[in-house]
Symmetry: C2
Subunit: 282 residues, 2 copies
């Protein structure tokens, strides 16, 4: 069948940096730990695990060696624990994620209560939350009740949210009542470009595939956006997960991928799909 | 018929101050000019005119005497002209309106491009616009094209807009793209209380009257809000303007009034309406 790949998709510079940093350290050092999955992609994690990268949940599990801070970053409490233990740090925090943490700290210093628009369970958001004292995480309208009324609020956003969602939440946060709002646009431009080109593509195809980790926030956001415009949207981790029946009778498929999806997963998927005969047997 | 008056309506402190200042000066001085109508209420203007207050459109028309700056304020250019001519100034600018001007100036000093959510033809907004260099006035979505993209924007609001409108426009301004937004809530709490109590009342009555000058922004906003909830809403300046046919067959009337509507206009309206036999002759 005909397959069109989104103009902008796959690895972003932050993820590329984290992986190449991991590979470099693994070639040099014996004991390398990632605090949480280095990126939200099972295939990449498995590949790096084979090269020796051990993924752990907490600093308590590490006795010696080097700790790789993943692209989503780590809170100052975790960093302090690593330093206390005398472990080496290799910081692969995405520069844009680091920026959100710094901005949140600056806003707090300037007397703002911090509001993070994002998912409270996402490691990036948890790292930002760890950087400040007074902070409210707002995922959607149901979280508005947590906001102080008539506050002086400093608002930032998880880097991988969509501009639509961020701006809708800004209006909603304001509607709760405020004396002052200082909002810094912390959205990742790479993520926005991926969203825009995915939405554009999904409107033109019969079926849309979004490739990437099920835990990957930016991939999930891509899938959520595409679903709005094309109900035949499927979020898969790789070719193996495809139930081939869904493409039967479809002529053109679109493919996009999250920022943590490696090129070889996209290439394998596209190649196999292009080779597939999609005619319905009648 | 039964008439219910909104819990909060009529003169606000800013208007009361402007009128009492005018009366005091008129008792002391011979030549007193108001630069534009002192408040947006014809009846009040006529009353003060009888006491000697002359309303002019520009400083050019004034040769000597005292210039009363009305509650909506005046831009620095006008103030400079008045001072140049050696005229005396009596400043009755509402403190909240003055605050918007000061905030806009501060935001500009801090490097923000100014955005005023409001009506570009309203004197309050014109005075704010006169205080800063780079400024865009946004009335509604049709004005969003005027905004710079990805700007560092300092946003204020005309004091008499509704919170709903202000917050909706904030979301829309953000959606145009921005690097940073600093938003100061410059809405007048008195105006908001009037809006809330008007909306609450209009939902419970058969017919709703909003009393106040046709040019009065806060009165028009009251009428606009009530109309959303009660299609039988009428914006009138006073009792004389009422077409009595509209109340025929109605049992309960609600009455609210803008911040520039004097108590005697409300009292006269309510008294006459209460005395009216609203039964339809059959």
């Amino acid at each position: 069948m005909k397959v069109v790949v989104a103009e902008k998709c796959g690895f972003c510079p932050g993820v590329e940096n984290a992986i190449s940093m991991a590979e470099k350290i693994l070639a040099e050092e014996k004991e390398v730990y990632s605090l949480g999955p280095i990126i939200h992609n099972k295939d990449v994690i498995e590949r790096l695990a084979k090269k020796g990268l051990k993924t752990v949940d907490s600093v308590a599990e590490i006795k010696s060696g080097t700790v790789l801070i993943r692209s989503h970053g780590a809170g100052p409490e975790q960093i302090a624990k690593i330093k206390e233990k005398g472990l080496k740090i290799a910081d692969a925090t995405c520069v844009l994620v680091k920026r959100v943490q710094q901005i949140a700290e600056e806003l707090e210093r300037d007397g703002y209560e911090i509001v993070v628009v994002g998912d409270k369970n996402h490691p990036e958001v948890q790292a930002v939350v760890g950087c400040v004292r007074d902070v409210v995480v707002v995922a959607d309208e149901t979280d508005l009740g947590k906001l102080p009324e008539n506050g002086k609020l400093g608002v930032v956003c998880q880097t991988t949210q969509s501009p639509e969602h961020f701006c809708r939440m800004l209006g909603a946060v304001a509607r709760r009542g405020f004396s002052e709002l200082k909002v810094i646009n912390t959205l990742c431009k790479e993520a926005i470009k991926r969203q825009e080109s995915a939405v554009e593509l999904c409107k033109q195809v019969d079926i849309m595939f979004v490739l990437g980790g099920l835990e990957s926030a930016n991939t999930r956001k891509l899938a959520e956006l595409c679903k709005k415009w094309n109900s035949q949207t499927f979020h898969l981790q790789n070719w193996k997960e495809l139930d081939i029946d869904v493409v039967l009778g479809k002529n053109v498929a679109g493919v996009t991928a999250g920022a943590s999806t490696p090129e070889w997963i996209i290439a394998e998927f596209v190649e196999n799909l292009e080779g597939f005969d999609n005619r319905v047997d009648t």
